[in-house]
């Protein structure tokens, strides 16, 4: 076949493919296999026994609770922010877009420290919270807050480009046809962004369950009370309890696989709607 000026020689092409795949295998696939291999090294019995530990169970429960609070809240915040940015022109709009990206651009440790500085015993609001006997730092509320902060951009960022591209004509059409504002939102806006929304929720959830840095700062590492799964992994690992550490890790890795699988399925089924996101 005639080769165009842009097509590289066979050697270069295969070279690039081998390098890319080799890199992936070395830095992504191999470590993941190692996690499962290590977890199951002493047999399934020991693997299952790792979950019998009360502290580990508490960590799993806490992680689920935090995700169950953070994801729905970010779903609502994300929708509001995306709606505001995409459908209205108002002063401070570009500032809002920049702020939404803030959690992506600062280190999670700093995000955690912010809450310690705000709500900690010596923090700005610490004494006032103490009067009311309400603990945020080194307690579950702090973990939830830090998680919400870190995972805030995921849903909003999926929605904004799509909503901007779709514009407001569909909503206007619904209004002229006699639909109320809320009805328009339910029957027109939401269906138009549903796959992007689901995609954002998946990514947000994966990060909410896996977040380490910010949560580590505000958690205080109180066993059975303020340890999430990633923190529990660290504790087990530092105690040389490798099988248990890798067993919990394998759960987190499994979550990553489920997320990836669901994401691939969405892309396969609803590629058109999602392609709009990636163009930006």
């Amino acid at each position: 076949m005639h080769e165009t000026a842009l097509s590289e020689s066979r050697t270069v092409r295969w070279g690039l493919i081998v390098i890319a795949l080799g890199f992936l295998a070395l830095f992504l696939v191999l470590p993941l296999i190692a996690v499962f291999a290590e977890a199951l090294r002493r047999g399934v019995g020991v693997f299952v026994a790792a979950f019998a530990d009360a502290d580990t169970w508490a960590a799993i429960e806490l992680t689920l609770l935090v995700a169950a609070i953070a994801v729905p809240l970010n779903l609502v915040f994300g929708l509001c922010a995306a709606w505001a940015v995409a459908k209205f022109a108002f002063p401070g709009r570009s500032l809002l877009i920049t702020l939404i990206d803030l959690p992506f651009s600062i280190s999670p440790v700093v995000s955690g420290l912010v809450y310690v500085l705000l709500f900690g015993a010596k923090g700005l609001l610490g004494p006032w919270l103490e009067d009311w006997d309400f603990k945020i730092v080194f307690a579950v509320p702090g973990i939830v807050l830090a998680t919400i902060f870190v995972t805030f951009p995921f849903i909003a960022r999926e929605l904004i480009p799509l909503m901007q591209e779709q514009g407001t004509a569909d909503e206007e059409a619904a209004l002229t046809l006699g639909a109320s504002g809320f009805r328009t939102f339910l029957t027109v806006t939401l269906p138009n962004v549903r796959w992007a929304l689901l995609y954002g929720v998946l990514l947000c959830n994966a990060r909410a369950m896996g977040e380490f840095g910010a949560v580590s700062v505000v958690s205080g590492h109180i066993r059975g009370l303020t340890n999430t799964m990633p923190l529990q992994v660290e504790i087990l690992y530092n105690e040389y309890n490798f099988v248990a550490a890798f067993a919990v890790s394998s759960l987190l890795a499994g979550l990553a696989f489920v997320t990836l699988g669901a994401k691939s399925f969405l892309e396969w089924r609803h590629g058109d709607a999602l392609a709009a996101i990636r163009r930006h």
Binding site: A169, A173, T176, L177, A179, S180, T187, R194
Partner: protein, 341 residues
């Protein structure tokens, strides 16, 4: 009615009375305020000043959803997750339970509308599976389903190719005649406006220059803008006084009295005729002769520094390049330079 966005007035002191049942075109260059005006009628924009009346009822403060206007958007704005039938039924389904027709009645209405817009059998398709022309027709059926008081179409054929445009144009006129809805449609295509509409409102810089039948705006343009925008005209700078118009070095007598002073003469093909009448005609040098269909068309120079004009000659004419013809102004479209922008 007026509408300003910040400092800029998009629509300025418009006053337009639409007759019940008429098909009115809003024609103008882009940015002339015609779409803004349409959105003001629909309630998608709120007027800065002025009132909107539907018959005798004041609709200025009426919410969009209560206005009962049928709006067809330039890019259709069909609901992509709903089928054709669900799209058409949308306006009926969102009504409060009290006034919502029964399911069977909605189905019947959708079937009637599908028949009207010639899309029978496509009710289960999604918008993405339709051609541009079909989407346009679904959008129209969806707007008609709510039995609107007025139908508003924003550049209804703007996104379609020329052949489909022509077909849909005829079809829209037909639908209008059958359903009798008062209809306003926005277009920047004068051919579309003149062919389709009962009356044409010509917009320029947020104002209406003239409202009239296609014949009126073509034959008796009220302003220089209308004369230059509608029909193809060559603009000649001239001097006018009484019955006389000076074109370059020649003066020509016109049938009626004119404006005085510097003016612009708009010459369309057909305005000039070859004539032997010495008093009323001026000499013109032939620059080129072309054969088009049943006639021969000559390009003429009335003076050296003026744009050339065209005149139709009989097919058997033997006029050639370089000859001098004597031509007369059969129709005079003259506007004082002060009124010309």
């Amino acid at each position: 009615m007026s509408k300003s966005f910040g400092q800029t007035a998009a629509v300025h002191e418009l006053d337009l009375a639409v007759r019940p049942g008429e098909l009115l075109a809003l024609l103008g260059p882009s940015g002339s305020g015609k779409t803004t005006f349409l959105r003001l009628v629909a309630g998608l924009e709120a007027p800065t000043e002025g009132r909107l009346l539907f018959g005798n009822t004041d609709a200025t403060r009426l919410a969009v959803r209560d206005r009962r206007v049928g709006f067809v958007f330039q890019h259709y704005a069909l609901f992509r997750h709903l089928t054709v039938a669900q799209n058409i039924a949308y306006g009926l389904n969102v009504r409060p339970a009290r006034s919502r027709p029964a399911k069977a009645e909605i189905r019947r209405r959708v079937a009637d509308l599908l028949d009207l817009v010639q899309l029978v059998g496509l009710d289960g398709r999604y918008p993405a599976q339709l051609s541009g022309g079909q989407r346009q027709r679904v959008a129209l059926a969806r707007a008609l389903a709510v039995e609107p008081r007025v139908l508003l179409l924003d550049e209804p054929f703007g996104a379609l190719d020329a052949k489909v445009r022509r077909d849909l144009r005829r079809w829209l006129r037909d639908i209008h005649d059958r359903t009798g809805h008062t209809t306003l449609f926005v277009t920047h295509d004068q051919e579309e406006a003149l062919e389709l509409a009962d009356r044409v409102a010509i917009f320029n810089r947020g104002r209406i220059e003239q409202v009239g039948t296609p014949d009126e705006v073509l034959d008796r343009p009220a302003t220089a803008f209308v004369a230059s925008f509608v029909g193809e005209a060559v603009r000649l700078p001239v001097d006018a006084a009484g019955y006389w118009v000076r074109i370059g070095p020649h003066a020509v007598r016109t049938p009626g009295e004119n404006v005085s002073g510097p003016a612009e003469l708009f010459v369309r093909r057909g305005d000039l005729v070859v004539s032997d009448d010495r008093r009323h005609s001026i000499p013109a040098r032939v620059l080129a002769v072309r054969r088009t269909g049943g006639t021969r068309r000559a390009e003429l120079a009335l003076a050296d520094d003026l744009p050339s004009v065209e005149v139709d000659l009989p097919a058997d004419s033997v006029v050639g390049k370089g000859d001098v013809l004597s031509v007369m102004l059969a129709t005079v479209r003259l506007f004082s330079s002060r009124s010309v922008s």
